[in-house]
Amino acid sequence: MDTIYIEKEVISLPRTQAILGKYPNARHVPITRYTDIFNAPAQNFRVQKNNPALILAKKHGNLVLPTPPDYHIGGHNNYYFSHMLNCIYDCRYCFLQGMYRSANYVVFINYDDFFKDIATITNNNTEPSWFFSGYDCDSLALEPMTHFIEQCLDTFDNMPKAWLEIRTKSTQIRNLTSRTPIDNCVVAYSLSPENIAKKEEHKTPSLTKRISALKSLQDQGWKIGLRFDPLLKAQNFEQLYSELFEQVFSAIDASLVHSVSLGPFRLPKPFFKKMIRLYPESALLSANMSMRDNMLSYDEKTETSMLHFCESQLKDHIQPEQYFPCVSVS
């Protein structure tokens, strides 16, 4: 991290100082609000992605929000939160490229305010509440720097009515494996066929490493989830995905998997237009797409056939109650 922008409001907090201490050679720039720099005009996501800066800020309001209606893994009360904006990985299909002008990482330092809101929502609901982490970022990728999930788990450990999904591609699992698993937490990995991961998921751990992390977590007693999301069209789609399922289910105990979901590749049109302008050389983004329900996606026939193929393959490995056909943006 070469440049760190720090909101004056959080500059003296011990958590801020601890993060700053990890980057002794970084340039420090004091700012008033993170919005002064993050997503301001005249910024280019692709250029910033090459050398992103870190922004340490305080999140005011809207810390925990309801998920879109289809976004769930069996619960009725579903919420998401992002202690961080943007991701260290560079997946060519990621909607963050279209949502933000800026590729800098924002870390919200006021973790306790997130935990307070989570507790309030949990107490206000009679049924269990689900909280999804990793919507606007990867939950674990910067964990060695933020320690957010470590502290989040302490909170959830004391709230049996609250469930946490940690969504990630990262193998930074030391803060999980070094503690006793908690029952109300699912560590869910986004998985793609190895060749797709190599070509489209830049800077991510390889499929093999992700499966290995899944196995370690499962062996230790953590509930794990599998997210085959997004499904990407390819001439050799069936071969790629059948190999993927084989690789995954030969390494882990499928009967102990908490949940499996599939996600078709869908993007809001304005996001897609920005992304293709940023990466005109991307074959993935140049493929034929069509508009449906205000989203750009593969044509309905192709998408249905991709989903059906994967569902039929998954049936060989998991029980119907483990499967959640999650339809969400990429």
């Binding site: 440049t3 340039r27 390819a234 790629l240 050389e281 074959a283």
Partner: protein, 309 residues
């Protein structure tokens, strides 16, 4: 080829740069412009350093040293312009806007000039924030790594309408930077708009003591930082559109395209290159004779294209 425009306010600020980079006058009715060409070590900033290790004083930096850089095995050419915009933010904004209209190929601007700050005279600073004092509007240039620009100290550059004397060490007062960024940010992104300042006045040395000669010496001293900043500009991260644009122009010179069709053609050519690995043949497209038939031909090919991983 990337094009960078250096912008200074005063002739005494421009002079050392014109001499150092051997720039020649570029005729324009209203603008004071200069032009030259540089060759830079390519994309690896670290490799730029050995060629400059003996460059302890920019006054000694000669054309020989530039030619050493030019002889580097891996190199990229940069067109270098210099605009002398005059004093004050309005002059700066108006002239920068006019320059960018006149030179649309410019894809980076770097403002260089003197500034007041509570720092040692002659210290080179780079702006991490550009602020117009009157409106409090501010911009944050996306800076390269400190190690690529000799760990140059970064400060807020605050543009004032009249000289300021309340010096602090985290602010440098100037009179043009906000005008330049106001105009430049309309067409360039903030990774390509920078401001380098040299301390010309502070608590110990009043603004009245600034002379033409001292400005020349101070600006010459910031040339090593300027060289490193120019080499670190992230031109390589931008998508390469030149060949598709060239083909598009070649087709449009022979066949009429409406504005909408021109956009459509550009998108189809880029998709063709992304999906099929190359641009379509110009001769083949020109045989089709109309914009509509070219669109249909390319769309048909792209519908059949598929990706294999």
């Amino acid at each position: 080829m990337p094009a960078i425009c250096l912008i200074t306010a005063l002739p005494s600020e421009a002079r050392p740069l014109i001499e150092h980079f051997r720039l020649g006058a570029l005729r324009h009715k209203h603008l004071r412009l200069y032009q030259g060409t540089l060759t830079w070590p390519c994309s690896n900033q670290a490799s730029a350093k050995p060629t400059r290790t003996k460059q302890t004083n920019a006054n000694q930096t000669s054309a020989n040293q530039i030619s050493k850089i030019q002889k580097s095995a891996t190199s990229k050419e940069v067109t270098l312009y210099l605009l002398q915009c005059g004093v004050g933010k309005l002059n700066a904004a108006a002239n920068t806007g006019a320059m960018l209209e006149f030179l649309p190929s410019v894809n980076a601007v770097i403002n260089l000039g003197i500034a007041g700050s509570d720092r040692p005279l002659g210290q080179t600073l780079i702006a991490h924030c550009l602020q117009e004092k009157a409106s409090s509007q501010q911009w944050y240039p996306h800076l390269p790594s400190p190690k690529h620009i000799d760990n140059t100290v970064s400060v807020k550059v605050q543009t004032v309408d009249t000289p300021a004397y309340n010096y602090t060490d985290d602010i440098a007062f100037d009179m043009e930077a906000s005008g330049i960024v106001t105009a430049a940010a309309k067409v360039l992104d903030l990774a390509f708009i920078h401001s380098i300042k040299v301390v010309s006045d502070n608590h110990d040395s009043a603004i009245e003591r600034i002379t033409s000669k001292s400005i020349g010496t101070q600006l010459a001293n910031c040339i090593p930082v300027l060289n490193n900043l120019m080499a670190a500009l992230p031109f390589d991260t931008l998508p390469s559109l030149a060949d598709a644009e060239e083909l598009s122009r070649a087709i449009q010179s022979r066949i009429h395209f409406s504005i909408t069709e021109q956009h459509g053609l550009s998108q189809l050519l880029l998709r063709h290159k992304a999906l099929l690995g190359e641009l379509p043949g110009e001769t083949c497209l020109l045989k089709l004779a109309t914009a509509k038939s070219i669109r249909q031909h390319l769309t048909g090919k792209l519908e059949l294209a598929s990706i294999s991983y």
